[in-house]
Amino acid sequence: MSQAPAAILQDVTKKIGGRTIIDRVSLEISPGEVFGFLGPNGSGKTTTIRMMVGLMALTAGDITIGGHSVKTSYAASAAQVGAIVENPEMYKYLTGYQNLVHYARMNPSVTKERIDEVVKLVGLDGRIHDKVKKYSLGMRQRLGVAQAVMHRPKLLILDEPTNGLDPAGIRELRDYLRRLSREEGTAVFVSSHLLSEMELMCDRVAILQKGKLIDIRSIRGPANKTGEEQIAVFDVDHPENALGVLEGRGDGKLEDGSLVITATREQIADANRILVEAGFKVYGIRTRTKSLEDQFLEVTGGETIG
């Protein structure tokens, strides 16, 4: 990728009262990418996000957003960031629209037309002139997204964005984030402890544990084209016999009346040919990639509380 990164975290460290909360975290977020920030509760996700948006000072290291350091040119970096930090807390005694006007006044690039456009985009047009105290959590979350994207930020930071959303709302948000990253080239940085959520939403995921970055991996990589092993589930008649036939070809076992083998893409095709030639009826073959949850538990050693 030839484009400059939307954000760079370099050896970001935060110490509070002698305790190291964040320990030399380094990563880069590219334009147009949905980057997941995954970790158990208390691992330091929110602290990292607070440092990215200038709510907390860094003890060491630096964060640059669109080439501007949050330490030395905060206003220039903040102008390129839209964020929801934890819950989208708005002024409850103001209407949704007044809240947006409030934030728009702080950002010269936002016009009145843009506010109306964003309100439509998040689907709040019917209720935007109601006071925020009458909103449901889902509506507040939408208003939060509206204030975060209003000024077309280069980097959108969402801390646990699916909290309080119903399944339809989560899906909508996911589609919207994808569109935003694809069409407008916005880099999206999403934190969550919900693994399955991240798997559906992100291109890459960084895993944080006890303030340390332990892994960064691609989720939508071309994994099944390489020689990497996959899990294949064969739906065959007489699976016990079939297991015997495949003896010595990959790691096979029986699971819920199906034959399950761990093998490469080529080996799976071979196994199918052998079974068919041996006279078995193959009703179906499903491959199962290792879920993010498996990967997550693998790298964190099964620990859930940091």
């Binding site: 607070r50 948006v53 200038g54 709510l55 907390m56 000072a57 905060y74 206003a75 220039a76 903040a78 102008a79 960031v81 964020a83 929801i84 930090v85 934890e86 819950n87 989208p88 807390e89 708005m90 002024y91 409850k92 005694y93 103001l94 007044q98 006007v101 409030h102 934030y103 006044r105 702080m106 950002n107 010269p108 204030q147």
Partner: protein, 268 residues
């Protein structure tokens, strides 16, 4: 530098879009009318001096205005922390100093709006009920540096001096609000400063120690100079001295507010 007035407008919106601001302004507007009417009912006549009634009502309602402004000042910073809105406020492309300054300016405007309203209402209602008295010498004490001068000058200076006292109490409330992030604590302590000021001044006047005249409480009410006296009779104090002491406190209080607000991590 983008438009700083936008920030002040935001703060104004947060003050005046709440019903409580209008209840406060309603009190300031109606209380003088009520006091004048009660006076007429109680005394059964219309012969009061309009200037006398005006300064009396001003002295009473000034306290109310100060309490209202303190409530808003305490809420201004601490309220944003307790509701969590501070997070979305501080991630904008503005320095924290400017955001704090915009809050302070909006509070000063709120104080000015109330003072102007009080001035207009106390003058208007008493002029209406009692007529404008041409002999105002009765309300200016004979020892006052303004004795023999225009009553407008006297009343105008009285408002100015009360506003200076109010400015100091706002600074105290604002400092407590940003240092402790607790609206209740800021309101309580500021009102303590407001009311205990005269008692503490009374205590301080019992001693002849020189440091006493540098205490905030001894200087906060500069209206005594208007009447030809000094806050502490035993001390060698002038209006210029008190204003200099107040300026010193004002700078220190705001410096604390600013340092705490700008430096502290937002973890709430």
């Amino acid at each position: 530098m983008a438009n700083f007035w936008n920030l002040v407008q935001n703060e104004n919106m947060k003050i005046y879009r709440r019903i409580r601001a209008w209840i406060m302004l309603g009190f300031v507007a109606l209380a003088p009318i009520a006091i004048s009417i009660i006076y007429i009912i109680a005394s059964g006549e219309f012969d009061a001096n309009n200037w006398e009634m005006m300064t009396l009502e001003t002295t009473i309602l000034y306290q109310l205005i100060t309490i209202f402004t303190v409530v808003k000042a305490a809420d201004s910073v601490a309220g944003e922390f307790s509701t969590g809105t501070i997070k979305l406020l501080l991630i904008r492309p503005w320095s924290r100093s400017m955001i704090l300054l915009s809050k302070f300016v909006a509070l000063l405007l709120f104080a000015v709006v109330q003072m102007v309203l009080l001035f207009v209402v106390t003058w208007g209602i008493n002029a209406l009920l009692f007529g404008v008295n041409s002999d105002a010498s009765g309300i200016i004490p004979s020892g006052s540096p303004l004795a023999g001068h225009s009553v407008w000058g006297y009343v105008g200076l009285m408002y100015l001096y009360l506003f200076i006292a109010q400015l100091m109490i706002i600074a105290v409330a604002f400092m407590l609000s940003s240092a402790f992030r607790s609206g209740g604590l800021a309101i309580g302590l500021s009102i303590f400063v407001l009311f205990s000021g005269s008692i503490i001044t009374g205590l301080l006047s019992l001693t002849d120690k020189a440091w006493v005249k540098y205490v905030l409480f001894a200087n906060i009410d500069v209206t005594s100079y208007l009447n030809g006296s000094t806050p502490l009779p035993n001390q060698d104090m002038t209006l210029g001295f008190s204003l200099a002491v107040l300026a010193g406190y004002f700078i220190v209080l705001n410096l604390i507010s600013w340092l705490v607000f700008v430096k502290r991590d937002v973890a709430a």
